[in-house]
């Protein structure tokens, strides 16, 4: 039985296609990139180790990009997560150094540091009313400065803890698949569920789409934003910790390269910085695309200097595609508004 508020067959398919057009486009870009790199270097792209290597580095870009997506949908931005990655990892490394063993306590303290840093961002943006771009540039320098002062620029080796339980839980391998990729996929699913199926996700969208309206229906905007910054802080610290463990060394500059890459992953994934719309799936694939380009450029046999160039081209193409889609959308809005208006004349 077809319920009357649903529509049937072909019409439904068309609607699904138009509803998910951004996801479809981003997937198409990903597949065509794969095809291009495959044509250039078939042996490398047929080798399973290529994919293992992408799988082992992609989570560092994708993880912070996932929670960043939520912040951007809510109409704000966070640039400090790259420094929070380093902060969280440093706390973990220092705790382990002090205890002399790879204790879960270190990870918990690292995540709590991320939580604290995230809450600070939230308070600066909400309670003090500082624009998030400026506030998080401030905290970005702050936490990076804290890390540099504490370490005096030296790295902290953690290789001796390899093989410990916490290592295996966070960055081990299951049949060759990096565990941190599984963590990333798991968290992506959790974020997707929250964003699309949970009340909190609906609030995130409303806050980004129409803040006045959200406030008028009684949504606590500050609570939504502060929670988002707190979650983002924890996820950033988590990404920093797994990055450090994967490299088995803490570097004081950890996270720097991920900042713009994660922001780019969100944008390439079809989430506009204007807020109100965006998808977790897009960000996930967007992050993979950026990692894929790095690998593809290297296996193509050209120098690594090409990576940034190709990144730039892909980001611009993705943005241009979104711009064109938005224009089509506007035309559609105008047309449909006229149609619904006429329909009322009967």
């Amino acid at each position: 039985m077809i319920e009357s508020y649903k529509d049937a067959g072909a019409a439904r398919l068309i609607k699904i296609l138009s509803e998910y057009k951004l996801q479809i486009i981003i997937t198409a870009i990903f597949l065509s990139l794969w095809l291009v790199f495959y044509i250039i270097n078939p042996p490398a792209l047929s080798n399973v180790f290529t994919y293992y290597s992408i799988a082992s580095v992609a989570p560092f870009t994708v993880l912070p990009a996932l929670s960043l997506t939520l912040i951007i949908i809510a109409g704000e931005i966070d640039l400090s997560f790259s420094s929070i990655m380093a902060l969280g990892a440093l706390i973990t490394a220092l705790t382990w150094q002090a205890l002399g063993e790879a204790s879960p306590l270190g990870v918990i303290l690292g995540l709590l540091a991320g939580l604290g840093a995230g809450l600070l961002n939230g308070v600066l943006v909400c309670k003090l009313g500082i624009p998030s771009l400026i506030a998080t540039i401030g905290t970005m320098f702050l936490w990076r400065g804290v890390v540099l002062v504490i370490t005096q620029g030296f790295s902290i080796p953690l290789g001796m803890y390899r093989g410990s339980a916490i290592f295996n839980i966070l960055v081990g391998r299951v049949y060759g698949v990096p565990v941190h990729l599984l963590w990333t996929i798991g968290l992506a699913i959790v974020f997707w569920l929250i964003l699309n199926k949970h009340k909190f996700g609906a609030y995130i969208y409303y806050v980004g789409d129409n803040r006045t309206g959200a406030q008028m229906v009684g949504i606590n905007i500050h609570r939504v934003l502060i929670s988002l910054y707190a979650v983002h802080g924890v996820i950033a610290a988590f990404a920093g910790i797994i990055d450090t463990l994967e490299m088995a060394t803490f570097w004081p500059t950890l996270g720097d390269i991920y900042m713009l890459k994660s922001v780019a992953a969100v944008v390439v994934g079809g989430t506009p910085v204007t807020g109100g719309v965006g998808t977790i799936y897009g960000t996930f694939i967007g992050g993979l695309i950026l990692e894929f380009i790095e690998m593809g450029v290297l296996t193509s046999g050209v120098t690594g200097f090409w990576i940034q160039l190709v990144h730039g081209i892909v980001i611009i193409i993705a943005l241009a595609a979104q711009g064109i889609l938005r224009r089509i959308e506007l035309a559609k809005v105008r047309l449909l508004r006229i149609l619904t208006e006429e329909s009322e004349e009967k």
């Binding site: 009340k199 409303y206 309206g213 229906v217 559609k332 619904t340 208006e341």
Partner: protein, 268 residues
């Protein structure tokens, strides 16, 4: 007139800095009544309904809703008390489907907070059908709708939530004639369902057909109140013009004025 009062507001004063927007306003809404809140721009209509909806806090005065006294409200509390605000496009989220907008801020969820999507779509469909709005799918993003249709979506929020009082703040502004007609029909449907509404407008020809009682605000005061049955639209227009020019109601209408306390204020 032994009807129950939904809302009573006593002696409401609201200042914005040195500007006094409301100078001791008394205002009430009864059960199953449509109140036309009219007045020129800057008379304080919007401020009054925003206080009722908890967006502003009054500086002085008290608000009694269904017998409960409040010093001030907030939007969430107002919702819980069954007051819904319908605003020209302002509350809707354009990128989101109709059903999400209808349930915005009041989502049906299970215990873990996950949305009951199909249930919400079904209820949305039923409510929109009651208003005759079936042309668009409930999954249609709201930005594709015309102004009148959007008002319909907002009014269906009131039906969905069993609100007792629907506040329509300038609901017909920027709408075409046909769409204005539509919105007036929605208000009539709300009354037929036993709900009360406050219809805020400066266009008396939009308010007149639907309101039972008119409350005329001028410069932060309620200067006059009339039952519709006592006036023709032309009478109302004459009164409005007189108030705008001289600040007072013409003598021949004074005996119909429910607001007999008027005149002892600072106007001379």
């Amino acid at each position: 007139m032994s009807k129950r009062y939904i809302v009573e507001m006593h002696d409401i004063i609201k200042r914005f800095g040195s500007v006094v927007a409301l100078r001791g306003v008394d205002f009430y809404v009864q059960e199953n009544e449509v109140v036309g809140l009219v007045g020129d721009n800057g008379a304080g209509k919007s401020t009054l309904v925003k206080i009722l909806f908890g967006i502003y806090a009054p500086d002085e005065g008290e608000i009694i809703i269904k017998g409960k006294k409040f010093r001030k409200l907030n939007p969430k509390l107002a919702y819980e008390l069954g007051i819904i605000l319908v605003h020209q496009e302002r509350i809707l989220c354009g990128n989101h489907p109709i059903w999400r907008n209808v349930f915005m801020g009041r989502e049906l969820t299970n215990k873990l907070g996950f949305l009951k999507i199909n249930e919400m779509k079904k209820i949305t469909y039923e409510c929109l059908s009651q208003l005759g709005l079936t042309r668009m799918q409930v999954e249609t993003p709201v930005k594709y709708l015309s102004g009148g249709y959007m008002q319909g979506v907002q009014i269906s929020r009131a039906l969905t939530f069993e609100a007792d009082l629907v506040v329509l703040d300038e609901p017909t502004i920027a709408l075409s004639l046909v769409e204005t007609q539509r919105v007036l029909e929605y208000v009539n449907k709300l009354r037929n369902k036993g709900k009360s509404s406050i219809f805020v407008s400066h266009n008396i020809y939009h308010v007149y057909p639907v309101a039972d009682r008119f409350v005329i605000l001028d410069r932060g005061r309620v200067v006059a109140e009339f039952y519709k049955k006592d006036l023709t639209p032309e009478d109302l227009a004459e009164i409005m013009i007189s108030i705008a020019r001289t600040g007072s109601v013409p003598e021949k209408y004074q005996k119909l004025n429910l607001k007999l306390t008027y005149g002892k204020g600072s106007f001379s």
